[in-house]
């Protein structure tokens, strides 16, 4: 039997480990269009010069031998034939499979901006190592001292962190009225905005780039929707990523925003699985399918997919969005639904000495949390969300700095704290 895996990043690696836990014998072949394994979130640390290229991997050197897998580097998958159970590679090789796992991740969203051409130098995305290496060359060659980042989401802020470490002044252009608008409210954003200002950077909110102005294929300036024109020689496009579902077109594999999977990470086509940023699996809070493009979700989904591929039936019970972002020394962690749009939520707030905590409650259950400069023991909130603990009696304590297991109901606490391991 042959397991074929497309993409070789965190979801794939979790899947491989998991397959090998239950199936030592089957063949595992991996196709990747890249030339190394690296931790994608580390590219901002690489840009900052804090992590060297040879430290970007997150697997042991002998992983391939230990797991007995064949990795085909620099070999993109081009086409899937789910009837014949084959994959065509970019070199026109046909590879047969018995079980297929698609974990091709995400691709940067490109907005159709007037004046944008692929070949203008000075415009970069911030998702892949190869791109960041080009960016570093560009910065060094052109002695870049300032730049513009389009998008103040996770990736834009990560790019900002890397660029600021290189003493590059940044201007962030964002449609929303705040940074990290998916999770942050204005109060949380203000704490970061203050730091940005201190660093000599600028935050241009509620505006976007209307036109890219270039001369002789070189970036020169940007025209904003606010009417302002700003000169710059470096633009980072960080408006987000979308699932990389290109391969599924015309294959019969059902896609929505991402590849739709059931709780076994299997697509509508038996034997074909998907996991990670490309997949649309169960979201815990809503119970519906959604793309949650974060590392722990990719790791968990990959593991579940791998187990099922190896014949060990395993269910994915769903996860919810969460993230940890540190910008300019300001650490923040968020979970779940943090900016509810309707009135049937209760919101608890505390803001003291730059420490901000926000807890979003629905029907006496926590469904969202934001912590800025107050991340100690943050994971306990994740546990409470996951366990849907009734917090009606503890609302006063949730925001206190000594919040911990002792304020939780005794039975709940004992169940988790004593005993063999977590049931989380």
């Amino acid at each position: 039997m042959r397991h074929l895996i497309i993409g070789y990043s965190v979801a794939a690696i979790s899947a491989i480990k998991s397959i090998r836990e239950f199936d030592k014998a089957s063949e595992i072949v991996v196709l990747t269009d890249e030339t190394s394994v690296y931790s994608r979130p580390l590219i901002s640390y690489f840009l900052a010069g804090q992590v060297m290229k040879n430290k970007l991997s997150f697997i042991p050197k002998d992983f391939e031998e230990e797991m007995k897998i064949t990795v085909r580097w620099n070999t993109a998958a081009k086409k899937i034939d789910s009837k014949k159970k084959t994959v065509l590679t970019a070199d026109n090789e046909i590879i047969k499979y018995d079980r297929l796992l698609i974990c091709t991740g995400g691709v940067p969203i490109k907005l159709p901006i007037d004046g944008y051409f692929e070949d203008i130098s000075g415009i970069f995305t911030f998702v892949k190592l190869g791109e960041v290496e080009k960016l570093i060359k560009y910065i060094e060659k052109n002695k870049i001292k300032e730049c513009v980042i389009l998008g103040a989401g996770l990736i834009g802020m990560k790019a900002a962190e890397g660029l600021l470490a290189r003493k590059i002044k940044i201007r962030i252009v964002e449609m929303a009225d705040r940074l990290l608008a998916n999770t942050f409210d204005k109060t949380a954003s203000a704490l970061l905005e203050e730091k940005l200002k201190e660093s000599g950077s600028e935050f241009l909110k509620e505006t976007t780039i209307k036109k890219i102005i270039s001369k002789a294929k070189k970036l020169e300036a940007l025209e904003l929707s606010s009417g302002k024109t700003i000169k710059t020689r470096l633009l980072i496009m960080a408006v987000g990523v979308r699932p990389n579902i290109e391969l599924c077109k015309g294959t019969g594999v059902a896609v929505n925003r991402g590849i739709v999977v059931n709780t076994k990470m299997e697509t509508n086509i038996p034997g074909v699985y998907a996991a990670g940023d490309v997949a649309e699996g169960r979201e815990f809070l809503s119970g519906e399918n959604a793309v949650i493009a974060i590392w722990p979700v990719a790791a968990r989904q990959g593991g579940v997919a791998g187990a099922n591929m190896a014949g060990k039936i395993t269910e994915y019970d769903g996860m919810f969005p969460m993230n940890s972002v540190t910008i300019l020394g300001v650490p923040s962690i968020s979970f779940g639904l943090t900016n509810p749009k309707t009135a049937d939520y209760q919101i608890l707030l505390s803001s003291e000495g730059g420490r901000y905590k926000k807890i979003v409650i629905k029907e006496d259950r926590i469904v969202g949390v934001v912590l800025v400069n107050a991340i100690e023991r943050a994971g306990i909130f994740g546990l409470l969300i996951k366990q849907k603990l009734d917090v009606s009696a503890l609302k006063k304590q949730l925001l206190l700095d000594d919040f911990g297991f002792l304020v939780l109901p005794r039975d709940f606490r004992k169940h988790f704290v004593t005993g063999e391991g977590t049931e989380v």
Binding site: S39, F58, W295, I375, G379, I380, G382, G404, G421
Partner: protein, 146 residues
């Protein structure tokens, strides 16, 4: 395998576990030197909680499917062959994904050094974890699990 079990009913709130944990993880292994050092009081790998008369100290549960390992962006958090969850400071970049993922809240960040500041290593190399050995009332015990 052996697990550290905590029994809040027996906890006196003396915090000796923290003192001995910090000492066991210090360079000198000497209580006085550890607590009088120029760097200030070291972090212990336990989290001490107190509400009214109830107290307890909690440390890493060394989960079977450890969420901190799953979330770690660098593989700094890993499991050794005995099932102990360990942390490699060298690889840590201080992204705090583990702080986010740990349902027990027992990993402490060192925000200045941008590294995980302390995390229970089951006193690897010692016969018995220091907190277990020095708990005067058996509120922290070792138990064999299979």
């Amino acid at each position: 395998m052996k697990k550290i079990v905590i029994r809040e009913e027996y906890c006196l709130g003396c915090r000796l576990c923290e003192v001995h944990c910090a000492t066991a993880h210090s360079k000198s292994k000497n209580i006085i030197k550890t607590f009088k050092s120029a760097q200030g009081r070291p972090l212990s790998a336990l989290v001490f909680e107190e509400q009214g008369y109830t107290t307890f100290a909690l440390q890493c549960r060394h989960c079977k499917d450890a969420p901190c390992i799953e979330s770690c962006l660098t593989s700094a958090m890993y499991k050794d062959k005995h099932g102990t969850v360990l942390h490699d400071t060298e690889k840590c970049v201080g992204c705090w994904m583990c702080i986010m993922a740990c349902p027990f809240g027992v990993i402490k960040p060192d925000l200045k050094e941008k590294k995980v500041g302390s995390k229970c290593d089951f006193c690897t190399g010692r016969e018995k974890p220091a907190c277990v050995e020095h708990c005067p009332n058996h509120a922290i015990i070792l138990k064999e699990y299979r």
